[in-house]
């Protein structure tokens, strides 16, 4: 059930950029988050493609948040980083005569929707307030 480590880092990157409200160089950011610049590039490109951050080159370049922190939820970041893998997962096949498997799937649904609902309500702004 644990999130991918890259999702974990993506959340911390967004938190840091939201807190600092300015352009942060990639070398500074990779140091703070404790990832390699190359890995940062990989995560950063996903966040940029999703419209959350801006990435500029040059001596005064770096990363900055372009979407307001109050409009970014943890769920948003998770979907950006993991959305593809989630939709690819096929559900376990139903077996005739096993009501218990239906009950189990319902339990999974409850847990998943509780998580999703709550994560949609936790915004970056609320975490920093």
């Amino acid at each position: 059930m644990q999130l991918n480590i890259s999702t974990d880092y993506a959340i911390r990157i967004i938190l840091y950029l939201a807190k600092n409200e300015q352009v942060v160089s990639s070398s500074k950011l990779s140091k703070v988050i404790r990832v390699s610049p190359r890995y940062l590039l990989h995560i950063g490109s996903k966040l940029r493609d999703a419209g959350l951050i801006n990435a500029t080159n040059g001596p005064t370049g770096g990363y900055s948040l372009i979407k307001p922190a109050g409009q970014i939820s943890l769920y948003d970041i998770i979907i950006i980083m993991e959305g593809e893998t989630q939709s690819r997962q096929r559900p376990t096949p139903e077996i005739e005569g096993y009501q218990e498997f239906i009950a189990l799937n319902i339990a999974y649904k409850h847990v998943k929707s509780t998580l999703e609902q709550s994560l949609k309500n936790i915004t970056i702004a609320s975490l920093l307030s």
């Binding site: 059930m1 644990q2 498997f101 009950a103 189990l104 409850h110 998580l115 609320s126 975490l127």
Partner: protein
């Protein structure tokens, strides 16, 4: 954020064995689950090592459950198969955050309490022997207790979990 497929099969195997109350051959389980015996073996090995099932050899061999059904919760099996039920690493690993506790702890740990409450309180026995309405009622009561405790602890309502159980 989803349970692993292997964890799901581990739970289904336990349900299978829990229903039958006898030694079930590996071929019978593999056929019912529609999985290979090899895959089954990889899961069963872990269940056996942790004392959930017993392996019998020979012509009447197979697997049987040795732990009582009401002592096997979803939480137990997820921990066995995946090592953790937390979705964020900072709740399990020390020194993961640059500042401890980090803002994610405050924002998220109450949600983790809710999820763990659900998973700890739902047992294989409930899935097999109770109607969905009955076990859901039980779970909701337990969740209300945890939510009440969170309320006392002063979690702001904007951060409290709302759960969509019927």
């Amino acid at each position: 954020m989803q349970i692993n497929r292997t964890t799901d099969y581990a739970l289904r195997i336990l349900i299978c064995l829990g229903r039958e109350n006898r030694m079930v051959s590996s071929s019978e389980i593999a056929n019912t689950m529609r999985i290979s015996q090899r895959y089954l073996l990889s899961i069963v090995r872990r269940l056996k090592d942790q004392g959930y099932i017993r392996v019998g050899f020979g012509p009447d061999g197979g697997y049987s459950l040795i732990k009582p059904l009401n002592m096997i919760s979803l939480y137990d099996i997820i921990i066995l198969m995946e090592g953790t039920v937390t979705i964020l690493r900072c709740l399990t690993q020390e020194n993961h955050c640059e500042e401890t506790p980090c803002v994610l702890h405050d924002g998220y740990s109450f949600l983790q309490d809710i999820i763990e409450c659900y998973l700890r309180n739902l047992t294989i026995d409930m899935l097999i022997n109770q109607s969905m309405d009955t076990w859901q009622k039980t779970i909701i009561e337990k969740l209300n207790k945890v939510m009440g405790q969170n309320q006392e602890a002063g979690i702001p309502s904007s951060k409290r979990t709302k759960y969509p159980l019927r």
